[in-house]
């Protein structure tokens, strides 16, 4: 009986979605704002990657919200795991030589790749979130391969806080100096398609890269060590 009722409910929901969506033509642009970004984004923001110009310039405030959500999730996980009792000292099994050596060689390369991704966020595909996730995966490799090494938790938290502060301070400077709104691009645009261009976008993306990387590393550290 319960299953039949849920099936009927599901059918009604499906019907509703179909009725809502059947009037919208598939793949057609309903709003003009997307075309505006594609046509004028390069000149207005100085960023070659249009996605970055939308994420950090036109919709920079939303990105601040995203970073805050990730921060809250990391804090929540830490708070939940802090209430657990430690089951004594856990013995660490040493990894094999191949895993250890591979980890030692791959770790700096992955770190470099992540840094490249978020420093060149305004020129090539990628950005702070992607680069930060790649950096966190490099630290995950260390946790898997070289278990006797530990990251410095205090340095991790300090990096995260400074990166978050840089983001907010850049936004507040834009509020007072530049276009008089939060996160306005007050620095010179520079020459398009070079590394030092598009004003505050690279600075904020580097801050986001550090923040996301240290947050995800903190999540992995909490899960591996504190439970």
């Amino acid at each position: 009986m319960k299953k039949i009722i849920s099936l009927i409910l599901l059918f009604i929901i499906c019907l509703g979605i179909v009725f809502c969506l059947q009037d919208i033509p598939f793949g057609a642009a309903k709003t003009k704002v997307g075309h505006y970004y594609i046509d004028n984004g390069r000149e207005e923001t100085g960023a070659t990657n249009i996605v970055t110009s939308v994420v950090l310039n036109y919709r920079g405030f939303d990105t601040l919200g995203e970073v805050t959500i990730l921060f809250l999730a990391a804090i929540g996980l830490g708070a939940v795991l802090a209430t657990l009792k430690k089951k004594g000292k856990r013995q660490i099994e040493p990894a094999s030589l191949i895993l250890k050596t591979g980890c030692r060689f791959l770790f700096p390369l992955i770190l470099l790749f992540g840094a490249y991704i978020f420093i060149h966020g305004h020129l090539t595909p990628g950005g702070g979130f992607q680069g930060g996730a790649i950096i966190a995966s490099a630290f995950l490799l260390v946790y898997l391969g070289c278990r006797e090494r530990k990251i410095n938790e205090v340095a991790n938290k300090i990096t995260e806080s400074i990166a978050g502060l840089v983001f907010i301070v850049m936004g507040l400077i834009g509020l007072t100096v530049g276009g008089h709104y939060f996160l306005s691009n007050f620095m010179p645009k520079g020459e398009i398609n070079t590394l030092f261009s598009s004003g505050i976008i690279p600075i904020i993306y580097i801050a986001i890269g550090f923040k996301v990387g240290s947050e995800l590393t903190g999540i992995i550290d909490n899960l591996m060590e504190k439970s």
Binding site: G127, Q130, A136, S137, L140, I220, L223
Partner: protein
């Protein structure tokens, strides 16, 4: 092109359904990762490299690692 995309979508759907029905949670996590990995390939083929990068690094690597750590701290088999 359309053949490759539809093949990938079929594999993705199979992986998604099998992730629900696996009793061994480790297999389910790997199937869920496969969904993310193929999704990232599809994003790349549909010319969204930014999203593809995020999906590959977060969906396929970090989420899998977090789930596997969670499984190793709890139980592996579903009752």
């Amino acid at each position: 092109m359309i053949i490759i995309i539809s093949l990938l979508v079929i594999i993705m759907l199979t992986a998604a359904v099998s992730a629900i029905f696996f009793k061994d949670l480790l297999n389910a996590v790997i199937a869920a990762c496969m969904v993310s990995l193929i999704a990232s390939v599809l994003f790349y083929l549909l010319q969204a490299p930014d999203v593809a990068m995020a999906e590959a690094s977060i969906g396929a690597a970090l989420v899998a690692a977090i789930f596997i750590i969670a499984i190793s701290k709890t139980k592996r088999h579903e009752e």
